[in-house]
Structures are given as C-alpha cells and as structure tokens.
C-alpha cells in the first residue's frame, strides 16, 4: 500500500545556548492509508518533535520526510502550507480554536483558506458538526463549549478539507477520562471512515485503540 508519509532515518537537533540537543535520532516511520499509529513514551522522548516533522511544520536536521512521495524539506513554505491545509489535519492538546469565531466559523476557516465556495463550506460544516455530535452547537463560541466539545470541534476543523492524515498531539491531554474516551471514539470513527491517524499520547487507553503502537525513548523508536 502506498505511504502517505514516510520518515527516513530522520534526526532533529535543536541548537541551544548550552549546546545542541538531539531530540530525534535515526527515526524511520511509514504511515499508510489505513494506518492508525499511536506513539507513546515518556515526556521529552521526541514524540511531539516526530509529529511536527510528520505534520510538515518542522524540518529534520538529517534524513528526509516524504509526504506522498515528495521530499518536504525541498518544498517551499507555501507548498508545505498547502499540504497542511489540504492533506493533513491537526488536532492539538489545547484545541486552539479561535475564541472570536463560533464553532461553525472555526470549521469553515480552513475551507475558506482552501478556496471552497461558501454554500459548499456551510454544507460541509453542517455535516462535520453532525459527525462529531455537535450539530446544535454550531453558533456557540468556544467559551460556551466544554473541553470535550471544543476538542470535537477541533477534530471537525481538522477534517474540514478531507485530509489524508490526521495528526493529533495529546488530544485527550486536557480532558477527563470519560470525555477523553468520547473524543477517542470520534477519532476511531475518523479512522474507520478512511483517514489515517497518527496520535501522540500518554493515554494508554487511547494508544490501545491504535492498530500500530510505537514506543519512543531518548529520541529513538524502540524496536
């Protein structure tokens, strides 16, 4: 099966005043269309760094990231931004919904950026809100939603442009167990509907739902 994204022996070194810090070293990973990959490991082991490389928001110090067979490091920022907009959906631990926009408007924003016409945008937004069980919360501002609801809106926003890959960085990190399970259920559905998932988490229950589980330690994927 063709890979959506492939990390080929990537390394990431952060220059620091006290000397360079190696966050990742020789990591290889392949995410295919039907994958649901969970990356776990202790804090500071390089999970989020790997996710940022896979999500095309950072460039490796060594090795290569191939997104749909294109070397991401060789692409101009504009092109990487386009890939993030149309092929990757991001879900963050802290949701990062725009506080001045309603749930529906937050979901419409990436579609508008991608040039989707207003009627199609509204239709897609309605579908996504129904999909995450928040059809009745379309006009609510983030401040009027609970943590779980905000994360479901964030998932809907990530899915707005029908991405091939959903990357989630600790999506249940700010939620209680029950709400976290609810959000995990939504992610399961997204996977079942054909979107590849790459999730970084400390949550064992969430990681257990993945079809593939990678454990990292000190910047390396354990065999």
């Amino acid at each position: 099966m063709p890979a959506i994204v492939e990390a080929k022996s990537v390394g990431r070194v952060f220059p620091m005043p006290a000397g360079p810090v190696t966050a990742l070293s020789g990591v290889s990973l392949r995410v295919e269309r039907a994958d649901y990959v969970a990356i776990t490991g202790p804090s500071g082991c390089g999970k989020s760094t790997l996710l940022h490389l896979i999500g095309c928001v950072d460039s490796p110090s060594s090795g290569a990231i191939l997104f749909e067979d294109r070397d991401v490091a060789a692409l101009p920022e504009r092109e990487r931004s386009r890939i993030r907009l149309t092929r990757i959906g991001f879900v963050f631990q802290r949701f990062f919904l725009l506080p001045m926009l309603t749930a529906a408007e937050n979901i419409e924003l990436p579609q508008a950026e991608a040039g989707v016409a207003a009627p199609e945008r509204r239709q897609r937004t309605r579908e996504l809100l129904e999909y995450v069980g928040l059809a009745d919360r379309a006009g609510h501002l983030p401040s009027q939603l609970s943590g779980g609801e905000m994360q479901r809106v964030a998932i809907a926003r990530a899915l707005a442009n029908r991405p091939a890959l959903l990357v989630a960085d600790e999506p249940t990190g700010e939620l209680d167990e029950e709400t976290g399970n609810h959000v995990a259920g939504v992610i399961d559905r997204v996977h079942a509907d054909g979107t590849a998932i790459l999730v970084v988490t400390h949550n064992g229950a969430l990681a257990a739902r993945a079809s593939r589980r990678l454990v990292m330690k000190s910047g390396r994927v354990l065999p």
């Binding site: 940022h52 999500g55 920022e77 907009l85 963050f92 802290r94 725009l98 419409e108 924003l109 990436p110």
Partner: protein
C-alpha cells in the same frame, strides 16, 4: 472570512482591550486634530480677516512694516495716481490715531480712531445699528460723524444720535489739540476690534480736522482693491513701479510673511505636538498589538499548522490596528472639535487680538490629513507584530505552548 472580518471579530472579542485602545487613540487623536487645525487655523483666519475688508493690497511707507504704519504724505495725490493704474479698481486712504473720547457724563475713554475716505471701508466694520458714514464724495451735514465699536457702545451705553467729544492724543500726556464734537451715526462691529481696545471710525476729513498737528493730506495706510483680472500681486507690483518709495503688499504676501515669521511659533508648536501625538499613537497601538500577538502565539502557530497562510494571518494585524485606530480617530474628531473650541476661546482672550481672529479653524484638509497620518501610524504600529506573527516558528511555538 476576510482578514478584515477576522480583525473586526478579534476587536469585538477582546472588548475591554479594544475600548481602552480606542479611548486612548481618541484622546491622542483629538490633540493631533487640534494641532492640525492650529497649524493652518491662524493663517487662514488672518487671511480671512484681511480679505474681509474687500481690499487685496495694502500700501505703506518704506519705513514701516505692514502693521506698523508710517505716515504717507500727499495721500490724496497718491490715491489719484493709483486709481489711474489699469490693475487698480478702488483706493481708500486710512489714517489711525489715538484719542480721548468724552461722553455726555464727562467720563473719558482712550480709543483708536480710524479715518477713511470711504464709508465702512468695505467690511472693516459691520454696521449693527444706526447709519453708516457718508462717502467722501457725499457732502455731510455732520462735521464729525462717528461709528462707535460695539464694545465701546456697550461699555459706555452709547447709542446712535449721541454726541461725544474727541481729542486726538497720541500719548497719555495733556494735548493742545482742540476737542471736536462728534455725533454717533451708528454702532459697528470692527473686524480688527477686540473687547479690550475700543475703536471708533470717522471720515478722513473729520479726523484731519481734529488732528491739526499732522498735515491734513497724510495717511497711514492706503487700501487698494485690484481689478479681478489683474489680481493683488500684479496690482502691488504696478504700485511699486510707480511709487518705489512705498511698500505695496498683496494680502497673499502679508499672509505669507506672517506665516514665515509671526505665526511660525504656532506652526512649530503644532508640528512638535503633532509628532508627539503620532509617536504616542504608535507606541499605544504597537504595544497593544504586540502584547495581544504574544498572547495569541499559540493560536497563530496552530492556524499556521492548519495551513492558514502567513499572509492571511499577517494581514489581520494591520486591519486590527486600523479598526482600533479608525474607531479612535472617528471619536477624536468631535472630541478634538470640542477641545479646539475651548482652546480657541482661551487663546482669544489674550489682550490686543482682533476679535475675529481664530487660532483653530475647521477645514476639511485637516480632517483628511488627520485620517492619513493616523492610518499610516496604524500600519507602522502593526509592523513589529506582523513580523512576529509571520516569522513565528510553528513547531517551537506549539511545543512552548504545551510546556508553558
């Protein structure tokens, strides 16, 4: 959703911050507006005052400045010579003296007395009550007809028909000149008059009769109206050609000279304070936007991670700045107008200033300039926050947000 709409919604979302920013800009903008009004107001008002007389050229002796008149001899002949010039339409001789005026009750008042060869010297005064002075060509039954300034009339309860005596007295020392009985024809509002210095006007012949110490054919100032096709400058040049011993100034030249010298102080104050207000606006809006951008770095990084373009995010900031500054600037106009009105009243209370002279004069140019200066400041103030947002390292920022 456009960048402007996002900026508008951001301003609405952080309501208190936006209101404080708008209030700050409104107050600073009001001061800026006032400084712009001041920078031109005095010159425009002075020009209006000069032009209101209906004459556009002033002729004085060489030994004098436009406002410090030196006597011109053989003024009658000069008037005839000037009337013959093709650039000249009308000529009026003016003489000004200091005098002591005595009312029916014996109360004395020092006044400036203006003698002219024309009734009302066009609009040097506006007749409020009674009748105007007769033309020089019209024989008058009154040997000394008078127009009394409004302030003097109010202070001494003088009405048309009253008889007053006038004794020319350049100094406060006793004078040997005779007292002349004059009849008040009317009460007028003098263009160059003010509340503290009283003025009366009479005919040139009456003034000459009252002032036997000076030659009767002497004038302090000659007012000339140019023909419309020639204009003031051409008339002034023509007069200078035939009478190089005199100075002829068009109104534009007088205004230009005052603008360079007399009013330079106000213009410099206006420039300095305008610059200070613009710096304050820049600092206020720049600081607010920088703080607000720093507070939203996580959001901005997340939007970038979602593929929202650098330009779209950066474009929000000048719009946000424009919304804050624009709303503040709109509020600044009525606030500045009110402040200008109050300051104008205060400044006009300075002694010796013509009552019709204003420091702050509303003009649409100042509104446009105000809008352009604030718009430019808004864009410049957004410069650093734009740089901050567009150069943001996405991964580092997301990592810091989570760790923070």
């Amino acid at each position: 959703m456009t960048s402007f709409a996002l900026a508008w919604r951001t301003a609405a979302c952080y309501r208190m911050r936006s209101l404080l920013a708008m209030a700050g800009v409104a107050i600073i903008g009001a001061l800026l507006f006032d400084m712009l009004l001041l920078s031109r107001g005095l010159v425009e008002s002075f020009a209006d005052l000069l032009n209101s007389s209906g004459f556009d050229v002033r002729v004085v002796a060489q030994e004098g400045l436009p406002v410090l008149r030196a006597p011109i001899g053989e003024a009658g002949r000069l008037a005839s010579d000037l009337r013959r010039l093709p650039e000249v339409d009308d000529v009026t001789l003016v003489r000004i003296e200091q005098a002591v005026l005595t009312g029916a009750t014996g109360e004395t008042t020092r006044v400036s007395i203006i003698g002219s060869t024309r009734s009302s010297v066009r609009s040097a005064w506006t007749l409020l009550k009674g009748s105007d002075l007769p033309d020089a060509a019209t024989p008058s039954a009154d040997p000394c007809p008078l127009i009394v300034g409004r302030h003097l009339a109010e202070a001494r309860a003088i009405a048309p028909g009253a008889t007053l005596t006038i004794r020319i007295s350049a100094t406060r020392q006793p004078t040997a000149l005779p007292a002349v009985a004059c009849r008040v024809l009317g009460i007028g509002d003098f263009a160059f008059g003010n509340a503290t210095e009283f003025a009366v006007a009479t005919t040139m012949s009456a003034l000459a009769a009252a002032d036997t110490m000076r030659p009767g054919d002497e004038a302090d100032l000659v007012l000339v109206r140019s023909r419309s096709q020639a204009g003031g400058r051409a008339a002034a040049r023509a007069i200078a050609r035939v009478r190089p011993d005199l100075h002829a100034y068009s109104n534009e030249e007088i205004v230009a000279e005052f603008n360079q010298n007399g009013f330079a102080y106000f213009r410099q104050v206006s420039i300095v304070l305008s610059s200070v207000t613009l710096v304050f606006t820049f600092l206020l809006v720049g600081t607010l936007l920088t703080v607000s951008t720093n507070q939203r770095l996580g959001q901005i990084a997340a939007l970038r991670a979602l593929g929202i373009g650098r330009l779209r995010i950066a474009a929000m900031l000048p719009w946000e700045s424009t919304v804050l500054v624009g709303a503040g600037a709109l509020l600044a106009l009525p606030l500045g107008g009110l402040l200008a009105w109050r300051l104008d009243r205060l400044l006009r209370e300075m002694p010796g200033l013509p009552e019709r002279l204003h420091f702050f004069v509303f003009n649409s140019g100042a509104v446009v300039e105000h809008a352009l200066l604030l718009a430019a400041t808004a864009v410049v103030a957004a410069g650093y926050p734009i740089w901050l947002a567009s150069r943001l390292p996405i991964a580092d920022t997301l990592r810091r947000e989570v760790v923070g």
